[in-house]
């Protein structure tokens, strides 16, 4: 168990160094504003991917509505900062709570559904959220919400992302997280081992939705304008692709997936006509040759080449 704490400290140390380097690049204006924005987007996408992974990868519940929760967080956030001039932190907290409550309310009835049915129901709910927002004039309707203060800085994104990663890593490696894993593996057996499967499915769903809400607030405050069209089910597909590409059930994988997907689309931005075609082919080929994703169930802490850095207390 001491090893676990030690690994955490190594990780935090590594993260602080990484932050210092990237912040240095930004402060020194070595990164163009295009790449600076992409750096923010990567961080936000990592939060989205890792929180979706909690639902899809670890708990085995097929959700396709993640962008809907992101939208709720984004809109709650911008209303609070733009119309009520509340501090950013309050907006972040409110975004998390609003998306979390909605996730909880939606989760209770829908999580009885299994597999494809749940997937399509969550997709539908995500779309309903978007269409409802589109019809609220107070937040600008289909035209979008304008005049958002630019609160999102790299530091906010980085440290919230770090918080999300540790939160979910710790959750997965706990009694509650094991209950979620058991549900993924075999729901009937999980129930027979004393796991209240409904409760933990909803817990995973609510936590996932909350983080999506936070990511939404961060996302919205990176731009001057947001519109409901930023949160279509195509976006939900994108997050799913990040998770699957990285490896369902691997936090390292979600980070890598978010990174790869974001940078592929950024790097191909100059060839817009080919971008999506290449992306589509990459996706299909990935499923042919490495369906478990880049990392499968592996974490960086368990990988052989890193054994020298990370102590194998292994069992946590």
């Amino acid at each position: 168990m001491k090893y676990l704490r030690k690994n955490d400290f190594i990780m935090i140390g590594f993260a602080v160094v990484l932050f210092a380097v990237l912040q240095g690049l930004i402060a020194g204006r070595i990164l163009s504003s295009f790449w600076q924005l992409n750096l923010l987007i990567v961080g936000i996408n990592i939060i989205m991917a890792v929180s979706l992974n909690l639902i899809n990868g670890y708990t085995g519940q097929f959700s396709l509505g993640h962008a809907g929760f992101m939208a709720v967080g984004a809109y709650v956030g911008v209303v609070l900062t733009t119309n009520f001039h509340l501090p950013f932190l309050a907006a972040l907290a409110a975004g998390a709570v609003a998306a979390g409550i909605l996730g909880f309310l939606i989760g209770i009835p829908t999580l009885r559904l299994r597999g494809d049915y749940l997937a399509i129901a969550t997709l539908g709910l995500g779309e309903i959220i978007r269409i409802v927002i589109m019809n609220i004039d107070y937040v600008g309707g289909a035209a979008g919400f304008k005049g958002i203060p630019h609160h999102t800085t790299f530091a906010w994104v980085f440290f919230i992302m770090l918080f999300a990663l540790f939160f979910i890593k710790n959750f997965v490696n706990s009694n509650q997280g094991r209950a979620c894993l058991a549900i993924r593996e075999n729901e009937i057996a999980a129930e027979s081992m004393g796991v209240n499967t409904t409760k933990y499915k909803i817990m995973a769903f609510t936590i996932g939705a909350s983080f999506a809400g936070v990511a939404g607030v961060l996302f919205a405050h990176s731009f001057y304008l947001i519109s409901p069209n930023s949160f279509t089910f195509m976006q939900s597909f994108n997050y799913l692709i990040m998770v699957v590409m990285g490896g369902l059930g691997s936090i390292t994988g979600s980070i890598a997936g978010a990174f790869v997907v974001t940078f592929i689309s950024a790097a191909l931005a100059s060839w817009p006509e080919f971008r999506m075609i290449i992306y589509a082919l990459a996706l299909i080929l990935m499923m042919f040759y490495r369906p478990q994703g880049l990392f499968g169930y592996m974490e960086v802490t368990n990988m052989r080449i890193f054994r020298k850095i990370f102590k194998k207390g292994g069992r946590g």
């Binding site: 959750f171 094991r178 129930e191 027979s192």
Partner: protein, 256 residues
């Protein structure tokens, strides 16, 4: 204080007009090792599913430890003290052997969500405790050196043993074993039966055992119920059962 740990009264289960179990009356006393036998399709597993809450009885009552458990969810019944294994093995196959057992401690782990995600309070002490207990259980079932292997990679016999180890981790008063020796060779079966007798004493368990193979049940059970077409056709000690004409007819298909 009733000596009866589990009691089923007039339980029946109807699936779409088909009676899977009818007029099911039986009881298990504290500390007993009872066998439930019968030909394939007699309703043995249905009886298990009724006791563990997977199915709800169409009529009748089931009492555990003096309280009705009808209408409870399977996890609530497990928390009251009934754990089971599955005939068609249901391990958490992509998880390690150790994790499989740890999951079954679920209800007994005493720390909350905040303690989990912020690694505070009882998190470390509780985790250490269940790891220790889980390894102890694995040792009993000769699985300790496989603790870090994925459950799906275990050989068949070891998977069956892991199912029992996992059920014990839920700390039950009553253990339900659904054909634990299915698919095992005679040597493995013999060892398993000895193991069952041993854990029963060690953990002070009451056990209900489903078996297809008569000879095996005869060896260790004190009392046996025989089920055919969803009805109990005989009950008693192994000697009584062995000589019961109804049982002989049911099993051999001959005239009584």
């Amino acid at each position: 204080m009733a000596k009866e740990l589990l009691k089923a009264t007039d339980v029946s289960e109807v699936f779409g007009g088909l009676k899977a179990v009818s007029d099911f009356n039986f009881h298990i006393d504290k500390g007993e090792l009872v066998g439930l036998i019968g030909p394939n399709g007699a309703g043995k597993t249905t009886a298990f599913n009724l006791i563990t809450g997977v199915y709800q009885p169409t009529t009748g009552e089931i009492h555990f430890d003096g309280k009705s458990i009808v209408g409870l969810k399977p996890y609530q019944i497990t928390q009251r003290g009934i754990a089971r294994t599955f005939q068609n093995i249901r391990l958490f196959s992509e998880l390690t052997v150790l994790e499989n057992v740890k999951i079954a401690f679920h209800f007994h782990v005493k720390y909350g969500l905040l303690e989990s995600v912020f690694r505070m309070g009882r998190y470390f002490s509780e985790e250490e405790k269940i790891e220790e207990e889980a390894l102890k259980l694995l040792k009993i079932f000769h699985l300790e050196d496989k603790a870090d292997e994925l459950a799906k990679n275990l050989p068949y016999g070891a998977q069956r043993r892991l199912e029992i180890a996992r059920a014990l981790a839920a700390k039950p008063k009553l253990l339900l074993l659904d054909e634990p020796a299915a698919g095992m060779n005679p040597q493995e079966t013999k060892e398993l039966m000895e193991m069952i007798s041993w854990i029963r004493k060690e953990f002070g368990l009451t056990i209900l055992l489903i078996e297809h193979d008569m000879s095996l049940v005869m060896g260790i059970c004190e009392r046996i119920y025989v089920l055919e077409y969803g009805m109990i056709i005989a009950q008693g000690t192994p000697d009584v059962i062995k000589n019961d004409p109804e049982v002989i007819r049911a099993y051999l298909g001959g005239e009584a």
